[in-house]
Point group: C2
Chain length 303, copies 2
């Protein structure tokens, strides 16, 4: 079995949704905690215009702080939208660049300002720039499993984008369930189709837990051969008091699930739970995670 | 593929956990709504001593009300602990008797007053009495996937109980994850082992969503060949403000998940969501379900 790679995205995907920006020192303390927990990759933030997403205005500063004397083996990733983002990221110490285009034309126009057909070459150009600089790169297809604006996304459309990435030599590919419409059968089908296109591709997944299927979709992805899983501490990003709760599966919930199956025993679950509780305390509201509420299943109780 | 059977257990497993008893009229209105929604089996209540579980004191009365002029094809099930419970259930119109013994000796002593070895023959006797009366019967192994008191439960112990049930001619068998410790690999292994013992057995599952694995475990059970799934409306039974939130997966979340995969399209999801919202409004606190908060994925948006 492939080693399961844990990619923490709460500091980016979670915090960008919060109305109030989290102080940089607080973010830094959470990020350092994550780096010490044994999680493999941590998405520190995104490189977007600070007027558009003020919550991410300190991304460059955070990378500089975390890179100063860095000893942790955790890979620090950043989300970029274009080549300009890659330049910013290279200047402050991004180790892995994540970027993507949406399979939904409507979502792409709202999010990236251009339709899918224009967004894909832009992403490919940014990915090539980051690759040329010797950095790790992950390219994604957003809204791969359906879209709140457009409804179902034809599978050939998703696979066509994957083909464009593969043809550009990009072999670390993520499918993102932006709207939360994915279900296990679709997850197995789409990832299976990609592996038939290129059995050597590195696959990643990003599921929003909007309708309660996040964990089931992750296990479906694991069966399909996906190796890298994006989660967020405490389930950050979802809010029980908004209409659509759209966080990822909580990192600590997924880590406990893996450990119940004998996987990734070295990851520090207790530390992740303490971190999740600190995040929850900071925001003062319950989040989607389960294990930070219940505490872990004790080692002696595990089947 | 086997038809997926939906067994609603909220009115029993959920309401028995609530501090305040729900008025009988309110329960009746929820039960009638469930009967009209297209769910296959509904667990109306349990036959326990009213001093022990006062929330279930009106179970006989509810069965009598629902049986008067009943037209719905929904099967009304009741939980019993022994032959006396079967007598009570036969007198008021129970159509399907559910009963079980715990694979954890400690849990069995706390719950049934006797250890597993004494509990199993008691359950077999009750099951035979109900079968002899021409009723449907489902026998379960509680704490089949681990126990908060005893920790891991040896798999041969669970399979030994299943063997005792099979030898008694009982072929509708449920495994219950009382503590919420189940994980997909264990679910597939245990149910797979039972199907190898008797490929014709009817299998059911009951997962508590304590650690966020309920839905993933249900999909694992489906793959393993389980046909009947116990869920609770709104995820009733869990409480976000208690230390261990131990509800089942929400019925409406599971129904939407099935419908995304083309299964059970005739079940009235909108009605289930309205019911879940009425349950939540009654208790005045958020529950574990997702879809009652977000609304359904619209038909035109489904992949």
């Amino acid at each position: 079995m492939t080693r399961i790679v844990l990619h923490e995205v709460g500091p980016r995907d979670g915090l960008q949704m919060e109305k109030q920006a989290v102080p940089t020192d607080k973010k830094e303390s959470w990020l350092r905690g994550l780096m010490d927990s044994g999680v493999d990759i941590i998405q520190v933030g995104s490189f977007v215009h600070p007027e558009k997403v003020p919550q991410m205005a300190d991304t460059d500063e955070l990378f500089r702080r975390l890179q100063a004397g860095k000893k942790s083996p955790a890979v620090l990733s950043g989300l970029v939208l274009n080549e300009k983002g890659v330049e910013r990221g290279l200047a402050c110490g991004v180790e892995m660049f994540c970027m993507g285009a949406s399979a939904s034309d409507t979502h792409s126009r709202k999010n990236a300002g251009v339709g899918t057909d224009e967004a894909v070459p832009r992403i490919v150009a940014a990915a090539r720039a980051a690759t040329a600089a010797g950095k790790r790169v992950q390219v994604s297809v957003q809204s791969a499993f359906g879209c709140g604006f457009e409804g179902p996304i034809p599978e050939p459309r998703v696979l066509g984008m994957v083909r464009a990435y593969l043809d550009a030599g990009l072999r670390n590919i993520s499918l993102a369930d932006t709207a939360g419409h994915a279900h296990p059968a679709l997850v197995e089908r789409l990832f299976g189709a990609i592996l038939r296109m290129d059995p050597g591709v590195e696959l990643a997944c990003h599921f929003h837990n909007t309708y309660g299927l996040g964990m089931a979709n992750m296990f479906a992805a694991m069966r399909a051969g996906v190796g890298s899983f994006e989660t967020s501490i405490a389930g950050l990003g979802g809010c029980p008091f908004t209409k659509v709760a759209a966080g990822n599966v909580a990192t600590e919930d997924f880590v406990q699930a893996l450990q119940l199956q004998g996987l990734r025993p070295e990851v520090d679950l207790e530390r992740l739970i303490a971190l999740a509780r600190d995040v929850v305390a900071h925001f003062g509201r319950e989040m989607q995670g389960f294990v930070y509420k219940t505490g872990p299943i004790k080692a002696k109780e595990r089947a």
